[in-house]
Structure formats: structure tokens, C-alpha cells
Amino acid sequence: MKPTDITNPDYFHKVVDCQWACPAHTPVPEYIRMIAAGRYAEAYMVNWQSNVFPGILGRTCDRPCEPACRRGRVEEEPVAICRLKRVAADNKGDVSHRMPVIPETRNGKRIACIGAGPASLTVARDLAPLGYEVHVFDGAAKAGGFIRQQIPRFRLPEEVIDEECGYILDRGGVVSHMNRRVDSLKGLLAEGYDAVFVGSGAPRGRELDVPGRAEASANIHLGIDWLASVSFGHVTSIGKRVIVLGGGNTAMDCCRSARRLGGDEVKVVVRSGFEEMKASPWEKVDAINEGIPILNFLVPKEVLHDNGRLTGMVFEKVAAQYDEKGRRALKPTGEPDVIIECDDVLVAIGQENSFPWIERDAGIEFDRWGLPVLDEASFQSTLPNVFFGGDAAFGPKNIIWAVAHGHDAALSIDLFCNGKDVKDRPSPETRIASQKMGIHEWAYDSEVSLDLRFKVPHLPTETSLRDITAEVELGFDRQMAYAETQRCLNCDVQTVFNAKTCIECDACVDICPTDCITFTENGEEEELRTRLKAPAVNTYQDLYVQDGLKTGRVMVKDEDVCLHCGLCAERCPTGAWDMQKFLLETAKPKAHACHSR
């Protein structure tokens, strides 16, 4: 293998599994250490800089970081990263003085953001401090988009939404146009904005197409529309027996909301198996714990009705079968159909993009799925001054992806407005610094906690089911949060090896608790992986290879299960190993190249 190039920012970034997995590349270990130190406001700002909505995401994020967490590979469960983020938000106090100053003098550029969801608000957040005048348009009365309309209050209190949208909209530089739905892109373009960002989401719920749907329509509701009506208080009750169709997070929100509005017998019915459901595992668990059964491998066949009144639904039983190419298909089992009686049906089988307000001759190309044709890195559409992001760009995803898109689009808009090439993306900002303070002292807490993941306290079910606005998860208190922070392995504190000073004494090999380090003859990666001290079977994780040793061997470190405990560096007599903290911030629009925040 060739020696690893650690000057490539991707190499060490990838070692920080959580940050690498986060679409917005939040520096997770950095803020977890701040929480451990009780520096909640700073931890909040590290988050705010990367993901814009720490309080909201600390409750609702899809958490791609947690399955990626290294802790989950050396022990049973990952660090409760999302819950710790909420701790930072809950305990931060007043952070307004830490926010970037919005300059009095504007730079003369006007940007329109369509939709006031997380993608648009991220664009506004990134551009307003640079002097842009950002106009945000939304058909609803309040900003937030999906966050405000579809996420139930028992998961996300409205104050949190108000606060975090307020940090963007109420500090100057941003003009809100609420209750104003944009119905013509051409019309908007004619108003002379320098650039337009489309963050209008995926606003249409997918329809159920089975016999009887139309006849019983009075009691069949599209999930996202129904959730919005619940959020706004237009809907306050539902029938006693409810069927929720679909296996995603919207279905979970629907069933749990229905349970709180009078649904005594709420059932979730899913086409696929339990494991394949799109909902996050913890949301499934929360639903089950509220007495909601999830019935799998049932395909809707017919809606039963009696004189226009819904009476139930018929489902066909299916099973997953694989053809010779290994492709999975759901095939009927031939067993008798299942009839489930009900009073209401909530349809949460997916969302679709919809751009009825974009004229087809406006200059924006769409692909055959009805999505805009975009440059993947810059989010620029075929009309150079129009950019897309969030669910409007590549179809329904989640909040953290919308934020990531928003950052990239904001960067593009800044480049575009300065007459630069949007494809010429700046590199991320990186910093790396030794953590050594003494022979056995490090600037980070290198001790590895053996605690198992702490469970976040919940409101008792009998209380939570009575009030749809009562937040179910109570969040960690400071003490529990501290204990949980200690489970973080500090993966951003990198093991950096210098072959020139190594005397090949094996001290690091002997001390490493997880057998990561081997000194051996070089070879091709595939073969080399088989003859390390512990076989490196996780090929997604890199091998750190360095040559230049006196014996002609190479040092190979399997990054997979390194605890970042620093013992290799402590036991190294010559300082060939060092623990160095690697911080990476993705490129964001900046006022000046030499301007420091």
C-alpha cells in the first residue's frame, strides 16, 4: 500500500465517523467535550454554526451520526449524540451576543428564498451576516416549514421552533414574507432578485389508489396534511379505531398523534417487513411503547364502506421473495386477506415533489421524476440564478440534509453574486494541534468510560397520551449528560505517526487495547488486512500506513476500533506517536478571505 496522505483533509475527517456521517459535518466530539466541561453555550454555537437548528435537531434529527459512531463497534450502543445536542440547547442560556453581527450596511444584493423551511432558513442564516438582503416567502403564517407543520408538538415544543427561527429572521438582514405563497417563479424573477433559492420542500402526500378510496374519502386523510391540521389546531379528535398506512417517520408521527386525539385502537400497517421500514428504530420503539401494534407484510387492497361511511380495509398478505439476481419483491402468499375494521385511515406512504408554480418555460429543466436538473455540488439549476435545496432538490430526505443543502447553496449564491464559478468550491477549513501537555497529560480527557448508553427519561405514558402538546422525552439532566459525554471516544483526537523517530520497540503494539497497530512487511491492502494483529475486516474503515522505518517494514494502523485512548503515544519512548486534535469546518460563505469570525 502507498503511505497514507494525512494532509488530505478527508483522511482524518473520515476517522471522525460521526462528523463524516453528518450531512452538515457537525464537529460532534468537539461539542461533546464542551458539554462535559459545562460550556453549554459554546457547545450550542459549535452546533449552530454547522447545523443551524441544534434545539430542533436535538429532538428530531434522523441521527445518521449514531449508527456511524465508533463506540457502537467496540461496545453495544453508540453515544447518544442527538440527546447531548439537546442538552447543549436546553442549558445554553442567552446566546444572542454570540451570534454573528448583521452589518448595518448591505452589500446591495437581494436574494429570494421560497419556503421558510430549514433549507431556506439556512441560506438566510449564512448570507445575512455578509450583507445580503434575504427575502423569505412562505404560504404559512409562521416560519419553519415541515418542522412546524408536520412534526408533532409532543416531540418538538413550539417555543424551540420560534426561538431558532427567530435567530435567523429577527436579527436583521432578512425580510419575512409570511402568508405569501409564491405562485409564479417568473413573476418573482421579474422582481429583480440577484438569486433565487427554492426550498419549498416536498409538499404533496402520496395518494392511496385502491377501490373504495373515493367513496370513503371523508374519513381518509393524507398524513402530512392531517398532521399540519393537528399542529394548527384545526383537528382535535379522531375516531376510536385508526389505521395508519406507511412505515416511515411520518407514519410514526401520525399514529402517535392519533393515539393522543382519541384513537384507542391505532394500528400501523406496512407493506414491507419490520426491519425494512423507513422509520428510525427509536421512533418505532416509541410507537410500540404507546400501545400501537405495527403489522407488517400487508398490502392495501380495498377500502370498505357502508353508504359513504368508512368501515374498514382489506389487506393482502405478502412475503419477501428474492429472484435469482437477489432482487427482493413482495409476493402474495395466497393466505386469506386480512380485514381490519376502522373509523379513520391516515395515509403516510410517502411524499412527492410538486412545483405547480414554476412555469415550464421559465428556463428550469426537470427530469422524468419531476425533480429539477441540478449540479450536485452547487445546487444550481439550469437557470443560473436559481438554486434548489432541501426536499425540493433531490426529493424527500430530512432536516439535517436540508441544512447541508442550504449551506452548499448559500456558498454557491455567494460565489455567483461575486461573479465567481460556482463549481470552484473552496476547501474545508481544518486545524490540527497536538494535545500533549506532559508525559501523561493530554489536553483532552483520554480515559475511556465503560458505562453503557444512558436512557433518556420519558414522561409516563399515562400522562403523555392525555396531552398532545406534552413533550414525551424529558432530555438528560446535566449529571446524566456528563456521564453520557464520557462515553465519547474523542475520535477527532487523531493518532499521528512519525516513522522517522520510531525505534520499533513494539510498545504501542503491546499496549493498544484493541490491537489496532501492526509493524509488518508491506503488501496490497486486501492481503495486508488479513495479517494484521487483529484481522481488519471492516473494509469501510481505512488503514493508516506509514513507511520509512529502519527495518523496512511499515506501520499499519486499522482505524476501525481505535479507542483514541492515547496509550500508544503515552508508551512511545520517542514521541513517534502523537495525539492531535483535528477540527474541520465545511466551507461556508465568508465576508473576506482574511476576515476571522
Binding site: 463497534r73 467496540v74 461496545e75 501523561h440 483520554s446 480515559e447 475511556v448 465503560l450 525505534i503 520499533e504 520497540c505 513494539d506 510498545a507 503494539v509 503491546d510 499496549i511 487495547p513 484493541t514 490491537d515 487483529a534 484481522p535 475486516v537 529502519k550 527495518t551 476500533v561 479507542l563 485512548c565 496509550l567 503515552e570 508508551r571 512511545c572 519512548p573 520517542t574
Partner: protein
């Protein structure tokens, strides 16, 4: 050293041996020796060897004297019996323990000061008596605990850290062990576990006095240019006689060699020492050949390592004394104190 204990978390694929233990189960407390000390690598090799042989840790007694080397039993086999004896007196304490209970596996750990200076006599007599043990000397050529004076194994002409040149002849403990009748003699290097681990395994299965001289650089006081016991010097002058594979209980032999290249030595317990010859003319079962090779290579400025000598049919002290087979702690009162008549008989036999 470190202030923190080694984290208990381990590699998720860490294998277990036939007694259900992982290698980590053979560890001891975290080392307090200097970072980079060769002794820590020897501890790791002992851990690996005991894991490979699947010895239940409580069947081992580890004994040591005084010195850096003699601290190391704390850092391996935390579940074994241990005795940290007086300086240089490990061999006699070990002999006593062995006489009292021959069922345990005895592992003596000593250093060049402990064995070649203050305990030289003790070392010699335990070898010639054939105490069934594995005697490991962690040999760094200096008194590390007292800041690096030359020890008795330091080579003539070797330069100390502050520039003094050693004028005395060195004691070659391996050569002396061969001469004194040890039935298993090897030399190795702490920085070469591929060689060291099988040698320790072979020594532990050997049913007689087994001696291993392990060169173990002192990073603090004897790892500079001019030292003959530095990592660099040993790597440059390491002249291995053979490469050893040990096969316990007739493991499947997977590697085939051209005839004449390998020598199989079957030990008394049935284990086979398969030696791949790296040196022409060396017969590891011939004491004279062993002596010859040590002397000849030394004259050429090389350090002989590998299995130097083995007697496949050793006689251990218990056999020559004709002592009772059961450990003393397993004998009852009537056997331990057989009464006046038995004493009279013994006395009569001596008249």
C-alpha cells in the same frame, strides 16, 4: 508509564483459546516501566505464549527477584500465583516452591543484575539441579534502576550513555546455562516476538530446566550508538540459528519443507519442536555443537539467537530425588507425619 488503566474494551473479534479465555485475560496491571522498555515486550510475549498454550493462569507460579525485570510479573498473568523474592534469590525460592508442589508451571523472571551478579550462584545451581521451570532473563546490560551502570552481561568495549567504556569481560548466561546442564537453552530479542513467543511456549512445555536469555534494550540508559544492547545494534547483529514452530498435541502440520531443512524434536510431553535450520552444521540436540556455535558466532561479532540447545529427554530434580508425586499440600497428616516407627526405620537405614 501511564496514570490510567488500560481500557477494558477490546477488539470485537478477539479470539478465545480452548479454555475460553482471551489474550486480554492473561494481562496484569498496567506497566510502570519506562515507555519503550524491552521488558514490556517480553511481558506481552509471555502473555501471548500462555494464551496460545491455553494454560489456565492459576496453574502458573511466577517468581522474580529485584530489578526492573523482576517488577514485570505484576504486568502479566494477573491471575497467576506470584512471589517477588529477595535480590538474586528467585532460583532458591522457586526451587522450594517446585519441591513443595510439582503440579504448577514455574516461571522465573530475572534480570542481568539479578542473575549474573548478586544471584549468579543461585542461577548456576538451579540450572545444574534441573529444576523444572522456565527461567527468563531480561537482559539489557545495565542497572536500569540505579541509572545505567554496566552490568555483568555488558560486552567489553560497550559504551555507556555518558561515554564510559566497559573494560570487563561479559558473562554469557546462555553459554553458562548450556555448560551447567540446562536441558533447554535459547536466546532471543524483545523486539522479535515471532521468534520469542514460540521459544517461550517451548520452554513452558519443556519438562526440565529451561533457560531463555532475552536481550531487552533499556531505552532510558542503553539504547544509544556504542551500546551493544540497543535496538539498532541487536537488529544488525542478530544471527538466528533456526526458526521454531511448536506443535502441541500433534497439531496438523500445514507447512512442508524440503528434506534436511527441518529437524523435529519431540519433547517428553508429546509436543514437537519443529526447527527450520538457518545455520549449517548446528545440531540443537548436541551440547558441544551448541557451545561451538555460541563461541564461533561471538568471535565473529554476531549474537546467536534461537533455540541453542535442547535435550528431548530431560531429567528433572524430582526424579533424581525420588520425591513423592503428589504436591505436599495434597498429602494428609498420616503421610506428612508417618509416626515414630517410620522415623525409626529411616534412622536405621542411615546407620
Amino acid at each position: 508509564m501511564t496514570f490510567l488503566p488500560k481500557p477494558k474494551l477490546h477488539h470485537p473479534k478477539l479470539p478465545t483459546n480452548t479454555v475460553g479465555l482471551t489474550r486480554r485475560d492473561y494481562e496484569g496491571a498496567i506497566s510502570t516501566l519506562c515507555a519503550g522498555c524491552g521488558h514490556d515486550s517480553i511481558s506481552a510475549a509471555i502473555i501471548q505464549a500462555c494464551f496460545n498454550l491455553a494454560i489456565p493462569p492459576h496453574r502458573i507460579a511466577k517468581l522474580s527477584g529485584i530489578g526492573c525485570s523482576s517488577k514485570t510479573p505484576t504486568y502479566f498473568l494477573g491471575a497467576a500465583h506470584g512471589f517477588n523474592s529477595v535480590h538474586g534469590r528467585m532460583p532458591s525460592v522457586l526451587t522450594g516452591a517446585y519441591l513443595a508442589n510439582r503440579d504448577l508451571i514455574y516461571l522465573g523472571v530475572s534480570g542481568d543484575g539479578d542473575s549474573a551478579s548478586i544471584g549468579f550462584g543461585q542461577f548456576a545451581h538451579s540450572m545444574r539441579r534441573g529444576v523444572n521451570m522456565t527461567y527468563i532473563v531480561e537482559n539489557n546490560g545495565v542497572y536500569g534502576l540505579t541509572k545505567g551502570q554496566f552490568s555483568a552481561t555488558s560486552d567489553k568495549g560497550s559504551v555507556a550513555k555518558k561515554g564510559a567504556v566497559n573494560a570487563d569481560q561479559p558473562i554469557d548466561l546462555a553459554a553458562i546455562a548450556v555448560q551447567l546442564g540446562a536441558t533447554f537453552v535459547a536466546r532471543s530479542f524483545s523486539g522479535d516476538k515471532e521468534q520469542l513467543v514460540p521459544l517461550i511456549e517451548a520452554a513452558l512445555t519443556h519438562q526440565g530446566a529451561a533457560f531463555i536469555d532475552v536481550l531487552s534494550p533499556c531505552v532510558a540508559f542503553n539504547n544509544h550508538a556504542g551500546s551493544t544492547k540497543s535496538y539498532d545494534f541487536i537488529r544488525e547483529h542478530n544471527d538466528a540459528l533456526n526458526k521454531l514452530d511448536i506443535m502441541v498435541n500433534r497439531d496438523a502440520i500445514t507447512v512442508s519443507y524440503a528434506p534436511g531443512e527441518v529437524t523435529d524434536v519431540m519433547q517428553h510431553d508429546g509436543s514437537v519442536l519443529r526447527l527450520r535450520k538457518l545455520h549449517e552444521g548446528h545440531d540443537p540436540t548436541d551440547r558441544a555443537s551448541a557451545m561451538h556455535h555460541i563461541m564461533e558466532r561471538k568471535a565473529a561479532g554476531e549474537i546467536v539467537t534461537g533455540l541453542i540447545y535442547v535435550d528431548p529427554e530431560p531429567t528433572a530434580l524430582h526424579e533424581s530425588l525420588g520425591t513423592v508425586a503428589a504436591p505436599l499440600n495434597a498429602l494428609g497428616d498420616s503421610e506428612l507425619c508417618p509416626g515414630v516407627d517410620a522415623l525409626a526405620k529411616v534412622n536405621a537405614s542411615l546407620r
